[in-house]
């Protein structure tokens, strides 16, 4: 299964590298969002400092929506999803491979956005180490849910409109935990360990749910 998942991940990342969809669309979109948040809250620096973790994760989540849509758009072009269905690969391996590829893209995005937050919102750089587990676990949760709903929405004609409606409510607890953990990491919140554990639980639950549910979803897509 690991070999098959790696195959799917490498395929998705190679396609992403060739198409440069993230570089051309998702990253600029995320950076523009950060700048707009900064403009909106700039008169009140104290509010901006406090809101920085939440704004960071909102920017990640909204950008993730674009990345998820892209991840499944590459499967629908030229009926390529049929290639995957007929390939003989296990659905769990396909799920884990696609989630891993999405996760890698999101981690790259988060690194760029973190740099943006440090520059625009004047956040303490020394928090970077504590942000690593937060980013890894939150990314795992977002990638798992995104892959589940991405495949699900692939079967629906109005997927661009429906994906956010399905994805955002489910991911809201992760957003909350990620924001609290990030606040604690930069010293404006408490209970860093507790929130990191909450993120770990969500990541495990969503990855397990996706591993089980992806087979039927893939068949219907």
């Amino acid at each position: 299964m690991f070999r098959e998942a790696m195959l799917v991940m490498r395929k998705d990342l190679l396609i992403e590298r060739r198409s440069l969809a993230s570089t051309a669309h998702v990253i600029p979109f995320a950076l523009v969002m950060l700048v707009l948040f900064a403009f909106a809250l700039d008169p009140d620096r104290a509010t901006l400092d406090k809101a920085a973790p939440g704004l960071f994760w909102i920017a990640v989540l909204l950008s993730a929506l674009m990345a998820i849509q892209r991840s499944f758009a590459i499967e629908s072009g030229g009926s390529a999803f049929e290639f995957l269905k007929m390939s003989g690969l296990g659905p769990t391996a396909v799920f884990l491979g696609k989630a891993a590829a999405l996760g890698v893209q999101l981690l790259v995005l988060e690194c760029i956005l973190l740099a943006g937050v440090v520059v625009l919102y004047n956040v303490d750089v020394s928090a970077a180490v504590d942000m690593i587990p937060v980013c890894l676990l939150t990314t795992a949760g977002i990638a798992a849910v995104g892959t589940i709903y991405g495949s699900f929405s692939g079967a629906i004609s109005a997927r661009e409109a429906l994906l956010p409606l399905m994805f955002l409510p489910v991911i809201a607890p992760v957003l909350l935990a990620a924001t609290r953990a990030s606040e604690a990491a930069i010293g404006i919140g408490l209970d860093y360990g507790v929130w990191v554990q909450v993120l770990a639980v969500f990541a495990v639950v969503y990855l397990a749910a996706g591993s089980v549910a992806f087979g039927p979803l893939m068949e219907d897509a």
Binding site: R3, E4, L7, K11, L14, I15, R18, S19, I74, G77, G78, S79, A80, F81, E82, F83, K85, M86, S87, G88, L89, G90, P91, E219
Partner: protein
């Protein structure tokens, strides 16, 4: 005779429209079956049902003695379905697509280049991204995918579509070769190029499958 495909009393409904009506089809291992019928008659649906890509409202479909719905993943490692539209990743080259198909089944990537050469796509053409390839080249690449998969059952939906006369001869050669290797081939076609070599002709009319045995294997 051992059956490769056994479709019994199959009813398939898509968007409230009955596409297959009480369809029966028995195909023995090593048989070559041509499915004809007018556009929209249900030929593609028949193949997709056998491939497990379209589910039945009632009836059953067994491939190599296993129910398709319950054993789709196992069975898909044993057959190749070539659809109307070649299933390729646009951003990958034709070579990479064929290599990926080989890797998915745990086969060596080395098998891709000979397969592409066999279908007339040599080194330079095979390194073209699928999105830049012509429809004929894409069709040839999907034939190469079929070759590297080395399956016991081929399901070919209009395999001659989009091919020039040389490409059509190639498909006929591949199908004849498959028959000599005791592979089972079920193909849909509007052309007569296979008429001399098929074991059985099947006509689909408004979802009803009518069969005529041409040759006793």
């Amino acid at each position: 005779m051992i059956l490769a495909v056994n479709l019994r009393s199959a009813i398939c409904v898509i968007n409230d429209y009955p596409v297959l009506v009480d369809a029966d089809l028995a195909v023995g291992e090593g048989e070559l079956v041509a499915v004809g019928g007018s556009n929209g008659a249900g030929k593609t649906t028949l193949l997709r049902v056998i491939a497990g890509l379209t589910s039945l409202r009632s009836g059953s479909c067994e491939v190599f003695g296993l129910d398709v719905g319950a054993n789709a993943r196992i069975l898909r490692r044993r057959f190749t379905y070539l659809g109307h539209t070649p299933s390729l990743y646009d951003e990958l080259t034709l070579l990479e697509n064929v290599q990926l198909a080989a890797q998915c089944l745990g086969k060596s990537v080395e098998s891709a280049e000979p397969a592409l050469a066999r279908v007339g796509l040599h080194s330079r053409e095979s390194r073209v991204p699928a999105k830049q390839a012509s429809s004929g080249q894409r069709r040839r690449a999907s034939l190469a995918v079929m070759l590297v998969r080395d399956s016991a059952l081929w399901l070919l939906d209009e395999p001659l579509a989009g091919l020039d006369s040389e490409g059509k001869s190639l498909v006929v050669d591949l199908v004849e070769e498959a028959r000599s290797q005791a592979r089972t081939v079920i193909l849909t076609t509007h052309e007569d190029l296979f008429s001399g070599i098929v074991d059985k002709e099947v006509e689909v009319r408004n979802g009803i499958v009518e069969q005529a045995v041409l040759r006793v294997s």
